[in-house]
C-alpha cells in the first residue's frame, strides 16, 4: 500500500451554474483518519460522492489507491465503503435482513452471509434489535447498523459523511470509539464533519473546505498554531469587574480582549513572538496584574486556540452554525 489512499488534483464539480467543488487537491496517506471540515454546503459531500464513484467529476483527477475513480470505478468500489449522511441501509428491512442482503451482494453464500451478519450485529450491540425494522431504531443504533454494513468486507477506505450529525453525546462517543478501532485495524477513514471538535478528536490531518476550495490543510496542531500561540480564557467572580479586568489584560497582552456572551468571561490571544513559552509567561504576568488590581479570578486557563477560532480566522465567519 504505497499509493496514497486518496489523491486528487484540481477536482471540479458543477451543478448548473453552481460550482460545488472548485479545484480540490488532496493527498490522504493510508492508515489514517483524514478530516474534511467545513460548514454546510462547503462541498464536502460532493467531494466524497466523487471519490466513492457516485458522481462523475467535471474536471481534474481523483485516484483511490492508485485507481482512477472514473475509468477504474469497479476497482475503486471493491476497496471502499460509504456511510452516507442519511442512513445508507434500507429502513423497511430489519437490521439482520440488511446485513444479510449486503453480504450476499458482496459474494458471500447464504450461510456465510447469515454468520457474518450475526457476528457484526453482536459486535455492534444490535443482536436484540436484529429482527426489528431499521426505521424503528434510535439515531445511534441506525449509525451503528450503517457502519456495520460498511465493514461487512473490511474496506481499505471508509467514507464517513457527517457520522455524528444529530446524535446525542453518548452515541457520538460510541461512533468515535468505533472509528478509532476501525482505523487501528488498518482502514483509512475519510471523515467529513462540520463539528470542529470531532475533527480535532479523530483526524490526523484536516483539510478545511469552504466554497468548494481547500482553504487550509495540516494536522490539527499545525492549523491551530498558524492562527496564534494560545488563547487565555478568564472567568471572573463578579461581572461588575469585567471592564477593569479587560483594561488590565489589554495592557499586559497588547491585544484586543473579547467579552464572551457569558457576563463573567473574557478571552484574549497571547501572542508573544509566536512561542508557547512566551505565551505562558505573558499569561502568568496577566494573572498577577489581575490580582494586584483586586480582581477576583475564578478560572484562568491558557489553551491552544480551538478549531472554532481557527475557522473564524480562516473564513471570517463562524464555522458552526453555517
Amino acid at each position: 500500500m504505497t499509493a496514497p489512499a486518496i489523491e486528487t488534483a484540481g477536482l471540479i464539480k458543477r451543478f448548473g451554474d453552481n460550482t460545488a467543488v472548485a479545484g480540490v487537491d488532496l493527498t490522504v496517506p493510508p492508515g489514517t483518519v483524514y478530516g474534511l471540515l467545513g460548514p454546510n454546503g462547503a462541498g464536502k459531500t460532493t467531494v466524497v460522492r466523487m471519490l466513492a464513484t457516485l458522481l462523475r467529476p467535471d474536471g481534474g483527477t481523483a485516484q483511490v489507491f492508485g485507481h482512477d475513480v472514473v475509468r477504474q470505478a469497479d476497482a475503486v468500489r471493491s476497496r471502499v465503503s460509504l456511510t452516507g449522511q442519511y442512513a445508507s441501509v434500507d429502513e423497511d428491512l430489519t437490521g439482520s435482513e440488511n446485513l444479510v442482503l449486503l453480504a450476499r451482494l458482496l459474494g458471500h453464500s447464504k450461510p456465510q452471509a447469515r454468520d457474518r451478519a450475526a457476528q457484526l450485529l453482536a459486535a455492534f450491540g444490535l443482536t436484540e434489535a436484529a429482527g426489528r425494522q431499521v426505521k424503528k431504531y434510535s439515531g445511534g443504533m441506525r449509525r451503528r447498523i450503517d457502519i456495520a454494513a460498511s465493514i461487512l468486507n473490511t474496506p481499505d477506505l471508509l467514507f464517513l459523511d457527517e457520522p455524528t450529525t444529530g446524535l446525542d453525546p453518548r452515541s457520538r462517543n460510541q461512533v468515535w470509539d468505533i472509528v478509532r478501532i476501525v482505523v487501528a485495524a488498518g482502514t483509512t477513514v475519510l471523515l467529513t464533519t462540520q463539528y470542529l471538535d470531532e475533527a480535532d478528536q479523530l483526524a490526523g490531518r484536516i483539510a478545511v473546505i469552504d466554497h468548494g476550495k481547500v482553504i487550509a490543510e495540516g494536522t490539527p496542531g499545525e492549523l491551530k498554531s498558524s492562527i496564534g500561540a494560545g488563547t487565555i480564557h478568564v472567568r471572573l467572580r463578579d461581572a461588575a469587574q469585567r471592564p477593569s479586568a479587560e483594561r488590565v489584560l489589554a495592557a499586559v497582552l497588547g491585544t484586543s480582549v473579547q467579552q464572551g456572551s457569558d457576563p463573567v468571561a473574557l478571552t484574549a490571544r497571547a501572542e508573544a513572538g509566536g512561542s508557547d513559552r512566551g505565551a505562558a509567561e505573558l499569561a502568568s504576568q496577566a494573572l498577577a496584574r489581575l490580582a494586584e488590581a483586586g480582581i477576583v479570578v475564578d478560572d484562568f486557563s491558557l489553551g491552544q486556540p480551538s478549531l472554532d477560532e481557527v475557522f473564524l480566522a480562516l473564513t471570517d465567519r463562524p464555522g458552526v452554525p453555517a
Binding site: 460522492r49 466513492a52 464513484t53 457516485l54 462523475r56 469497479d74 468500489r77 471493491s78 471502499v80 465503503s81 460509504l82 452516507g84 442519511y86 442512513a87 445508507s88 441501509v89 434500507d90 429502513e91 423497511d92 428491512l93 435482513e97 442482503l101 449486503l102 450476499r104 451482494l105 458482496l106 459474494g107 458471500h108 453464500s109 456465510q112 457476528q119 457484526l120 453482536a122 459486535a123 455492534f124 450491540g125 444490535l126 436484540e128 434489535a129 425494522q133 424503528k136 434510535s138 445511534g140 443504533m141 451503528r144 454494513a149 465493514i151 468486507n153 473490511t154 453518548r170 452515541s171 460510541q174 470509539d177 468505533i178 478501532i181 476501525v182 487501528a184 485495524a185 488498518g186 482502514t187
Partner: protein, 281 residues
C-alpha cells in the same frame, strides 16, 4: 419500544476486541454473478412486500374494480350480454390492468432512489443493472398476482377459455414477459423525473392512449381509418391478440412473435436509457 431502545444505546460500549475480531482481512469472496445479484435484489423486493403488505392492495383491488366495472358497463351494449362480452374482453382487461400496474415500478424507484440506501448499492462492486433488474423481479410477482386475481374474477363471472389451464397459464406468462420489458419505460422515467407525482402524471399520458386505443375494449373495425392505423401498430393490440389466441387454444404465432420482438425492443431501448441515467445520477 422506546425504553428498550434507550437501554440498548446505554448499555452498548464498543469493545476493541470484538470489533477488531470482525475487522478481518480474510480473502474476500468472489463477486456474485449478475444473476445471483439480481435475485438478491429481488429478495429485497419480496422482503419489502413482507414488511408492508398493504402495497399489494393496488395489485388486487384495482384489477377487480377494472374487471367488474368494464364488464358491466360495456357488456350489454357491446356484445348483447356481459357473459358474451367477457369471452372477448377478459384477456384485454387483464393486459390493461397489469400494464397499468407496471407504472408503480417507476413510482417506487423514484421514492427509493432518493434514500441513502441506493448510494450504498451504487458503491457495491456488483453488476450495475442488478439493483433495477431485481426490483422489477419483485414487481413481476405483483404482476402475476394481479393477473391471477383477474383470471379468478373472470372465471367466477363466467369466462370460459377454450385453451384450458395450459392456455390460461401460457397467456399469463406472455403477459408477464411483456410487462417485465414494459417496466423499463418506468425505471427510465423514475430516474429522469424529479418527483413521484410527475412519474404518475407522465404514466397516465402514456398508459391511457396505449391501453384504450387498442383492441382491448372493442373490435377496431368500427374505428376511423387513422385510428385503426394506430391500433394496428400498438404493441398492446398485438399482445392482446396473442393472449386471446393462446387462451382460446389456437396460438397465433405471428402475434406472439410480434410481442416478443416488442419486448426485446423495449428492454434494449429503455433498459439502455435507464442504465445511462442510473450511472449518471
Amino acid at each position: 419500544m422506546t425504553t428498550d431502545t434507550a437501554e440498548s444505546v446505554a448499555s452498548y460500549a464498543p469493545s476493541s476486541e470484538t470489533l477488531s475480531a470482525v475487522l478481518t482481512r480474510a480473502e474476500r469472496p468472489r463477486r456474485p454473478s449478475a444473476w445471483t445479484a439480481s435475485l438478491t435484489f429481488g429478495w429485497r423486493a419480496i422482503l419489502k412486500i413482507k414488511h408492508v403488505p398493504e402495497q399489494l392492495f393496488d395489485v388486487t383491488a384495482f384489477p377487480i374494480i377494472m374487471t367488474l366495472m368494464f364488464t358491466y358497463l360495456f357488456g350489454g351494449a357491446l356484445a348483447g350480454s356481459t357473459g358474451e362480452y367477457l369471452q372477448f374482453f377478459l384477456p384485454g382487461i387483464m393486459v390493461t390492468s397489469v400494464v397499468m400496474i407496471t407504472m408503480y415500478t417507476g413510482v417506487g424507484l423514484n421514492t427509493d432512489i432518493e434514500k441513502g440506501v441506493f448510494d450504498r448499492f451504487r458503491t457495491l462492486p456488483v453488476w450495475r443493472p442488478a439493483a433495477l433488474v431485481g426490483m422489477i423481479f419483485g414487481d413481476v410477482l405483483r404482476y402475476i398476482l394481479a393477473a391471477t386475481t383477474i383470471m379468478v374474477v373472470g372465471l367466477i363471472l363466467g369466462f370460459r377459455p377454450e385453451g384450458g389451464f395450459v392456455g390460461v397459464i401460457g397467456g399469463m406468462a406472455l403477459l408477464v414477459v411483456f410487462s417485465f420489458a414494459f417496466s423499463w419505460i418506468w425505471t427510465m422515467f423514475g430516474l429522469f423525473l424529479r418527483s413521484e407525482k410527475s412519474v404518475m402524471g407522465v404514466s397516465m399520458l402514456v398508459l391511457f392512449p396505449l391501453t384504450f386505443l387498442s383492441n382491448v375494449f372493442v373490435d377496431p373495425s368500427t374505428m376511423p381509418g387513422w385510428l385503426q392505423a394506430f391500433v394496428k401498430v400498438n404493441p398492446i393490440s398485438h399482445l392482446v391478440s396473442a393472449i386471446r389466441s393462446i387462451m382460446a387454444g389456437s396460438p397465433d404465432m405471428a402475434e406472439i412473435m410480434w410481442t416478443f420482438i416488442a419486448s426485446a425492443a423495449l428492454v434494449l431501448i429503455f433498459g439502455t436509457l435507464t442504465m445511462r441515467l442510473y450511472n449518471r445520477k
